[in-house]
Symmetry: C2
Subunit: 204 residues, 2 copies
DNA sequence: CCTACCGATCGGTAGG
DNA sequence: CCTACCGATCGGTAGG
């Protein structure tokens, strides 16, 4: 970003997010961020109060967005199989559409101050709990068949990571197609779907 | 580690690995490492030549160990379903047994110098390629049924991460039990196993 | 928005 | 193995 674009709190935060994702929080200096938005480092403090505050703002916004997306995806959905499919699609789509934000969330929890870390970990745990509850419900009513719902929940939550690093490199599938495929993977992991039922049976 | 234990290259590298995993490479100072092994920072240079060299040594050794474990797991195995199961178990067991090394491998590639990064990425790609080849072979002979072997390979490779963060917290299952469960997840992801076939059908 | 500058900390070296 | 110290860089402030 050069000097021709006006600088604001959101441009500072967006530039910081890309740099934190690429270099890491600790390896990104306020001077790096300033250069990215086209000012000198002290001017950043007109928009943000500290480097730590920027990191927290990035992660808090990303967690809220992911939780809202999950809410929207599950609204009015009763069938537990469909709920797991849609929740996984929501998770993977979020990964694919906001790779920098998600990378920061996945790698910089340790860079948060104690109080900020507690707040972010609470939201992360809430997200994981909702995914786990879906899988536990599916197991209890016999829709899913897996030995450890907890292990399966962790496996499903982690699935999107592979898609994220891969998706950035190539362009063979759209983000929606990748998300749909991972939705199918999740159903297979919990034992909800026959292997012979191909994804192509689904409508577009 | 206190002064009563003798300091060597390997004790420096082991202490560095734990610190890099917990704090990150950039946030760990040579003084932190020195304190962990009970000397002053300049004395570390009697054992290692630079901080960067320590990072590379940790990652290179970890990659070689993972590749060797994969070799051992697959030796003499012809059946492609069994190969995927054993490869996944090998991967997950490595994650569970060497969490600090694996965390460093997963988070500090960006902290490597260009030449070191090329060497590590080549080994990581070789590992991923072997997993992908198993899945492609299974698909081509009809043992597996998945729309995108490449996507499935990434999903399987990523599976262990969830197990790693979870396993460190609790003690409900042994590492071997967790690895076996993930072996089953991998077969489900590629469509190799009926959902009705529970893991408990396997011998101990 | 800037220049000038602060105290702290960094990886690494000199010299013994 | 140590003390003493180097130039560089850090997040952030003073003052305008």
């Amino acid at each position: 970003m050069d000097g021709s674009t006006s600088v604001s709190r959101s441009t500072v935060i967006e530039a910081s997010c890309e740099l934190f994702a690429d270099l890491g929080y600790r390896s990104t200096s306020m001077r790096d961020i300033a250069q990215a938005v086209g000012v000198r480092a002290p001017s950043l403090y007109n928009h943000v109060s500290s480097k730590q505050e920027v990191l927290f703002a990035i992660m808090d916004k990303a967690m809220d967005r992911a939780l809202s997306a999950l809410d929207d995806a599950l609204e009015g959905v009763d069938d537990v199989t469909e709920a797991l499919r849609l929740a996984t699609q929501s998770l993977v789509l979020d990964f694919l559409r906001y790779p920098a934000e998600v990378t920061v969330c996945n790698t910089e929890v340790r860079s948060l101050d104690a109080a900020n870390r507690r707040a972010i970990v609470a939201k992360r745990d809430a997200y994981a709990a909702r995914m786990r509850e879906i899988i536990e419900r599916g197991c209890s009513i016999g829709a899913f068949s897996t030995r450890s719902p907890q292990l399966a929940a962790f496996a499903v939550l982690e699935l999107g990571n592979g898609a994220k690093s891969w998706f950035r490199a190539g362009g063979r599938y759209s983000d929606v197609e990748v998300a749909r495929e991972y939705g199918e993977f999740a159903l297979r992991v919990v034992g909800a779907v026959r292997a012979e039922q191909p994804l192509s049976a689904q409508p577009t």
